[in-house]
Symmetry: none
Subunit: 205 residues, 2 copies
DNA sequence: TTGACTATTGCACCAAAGTACAATTTTTCG
DNA sequence: CGAAAAATTGTACTTTGGTGCAATAGTCAA
């Protein structure tokens, strides 16, 4: 993994060095705009600094990079701000090296890094909303009146499984899977498994 | 890290064994209540099972442990439910070993594990901003250095197009589309067009 | 210029996906 | 119980997806 640490001075903290020994360190004023940027840019936000004065410029210069903010004074509000600005994570400047590596792992795989307290608040909100408008029984019959079995097959297909894998998972013959799929295609209007996947995952329509 | 896998049978899936070779496997009916429990308990929720019938008992018996749910049929709603019940994570039963180890790392350090699609919903506006930024950046760095042409093909595949349709759209032979796809599969690690679609659309994790 | 990389295409071939036609078993419900 | 619907499976077939091998041609940088 290719890392770059952006700060207003080049002196690194020990925990950064331990977490990412191979990272390059650059001044904010000397960010490379062209070429292939690093996989992950770690941008330090020092105490008292406003993220709005630092992040936009950085993100504009390197739109292809994933930016994680290292905040001297982290908080849930700040995290929300930097995510809204386009960063993919926000954590404490003085986090342990192991934590930083963990962040790198998650972010490197396309994830977002959010602190636990904020996440729990968000989860709490969503749980309340979902509890009200998600009758549990719905999931069984949605998508144009699929039967329970057909819905099982549809979900597995949507997850990328092959017919053989689905057959093994459900302990039925591969031919039966195909029969279900034919029925599913008919009911949903999908042309093939890929378009079904898009429908199930809500990417279509 | 001390692991315990809880299921209704003791036969482990291959990916679990690879991810946690030293884990102990126990039946749900034989959970050790006293003494020092494992650092992380992985509780499998098989297809059709209700988390409400499994989790509360497990959490009551071992209040000190961190429980991660391995769901045969994962989903955002289920994730919210199990987190609300007291679990610290929820992921796919058939997740790759590397993913499971990542989950163990996050959970072991006090984090919560949430799938990307749910997290993005939770973060809401911030995620929407990100969703628009991602495709641009991914063409250059993410998705393992695809060429411009390959990226065009990948996007069309992700949209549900057939090889013939892609060929017509790009005014090239269908054979050429296949050639690009072979290269794309190699670079991205996708097994077929459906899994590529999931990767491009960010449904994977 | 030469080497590395990308784009393009053909031919042959195998594997997976999907359809047509037909049959049996299980479940559900009045 | 008996009818209807859903689930299951088989054989055979067509189509699409994907790979291996090989060749031609353009671009870009050392």
């Amino acid at each position: 993994m290719n890392h770059e640490i952006v700060d207003i001075e080049t002196k690194m903290l020990d925990n950064w060095r331990k977490a990412m020994p191979s990272a390059s360190i650059v001044l904010r004023s000397a960010i490379s705009s062209g070429g292939h940027g690093p996989a992950i840019r770690w941008c330090r936000l020092r105490a008292g600094e406003k993220q709005a004065e630092v992040l936009p410029g950085l993100l504009a210069l390197a739109p292809e990079g994933r930016v994680v903010v290292l905040a001297d004074e982290p908080g849930d509000a700040l995290t929300l701000e930097v995510l809204a600005a386009g960063a993919v994570g926000c954590c404490n400047t003085h986090a342990a090296p192991e934590v930083l590596q963990q962040v790198a792992l998650v972010v490197g795989n396309g994830g977002l890094w959010v602190g636990q307290s904020l996440l729990q608040q968000l989860v709490g909100n969503a749980a309340r909303v979902l509890a009200q408008r998600q009758p549990v029984g719905e999931s069984a019959t949605m998508l144009n009146g699929l039967s329970e079995r057909e819905w099982q097959v549809a979900k597995l297909v949507a997850g990328g499984a092959s017919n053989k894998e689905i057959a093994d998972r459900l302990s039925i013959a591969e031919r039966t899977v195909k029969a279900h799929l034919t029925a599913i295609f008919e009911k949903t209007g999908a042309r093939d498994r890929l378009q079904l996947s898009l429908k199930v995952n809500g990417m279509n329509r």
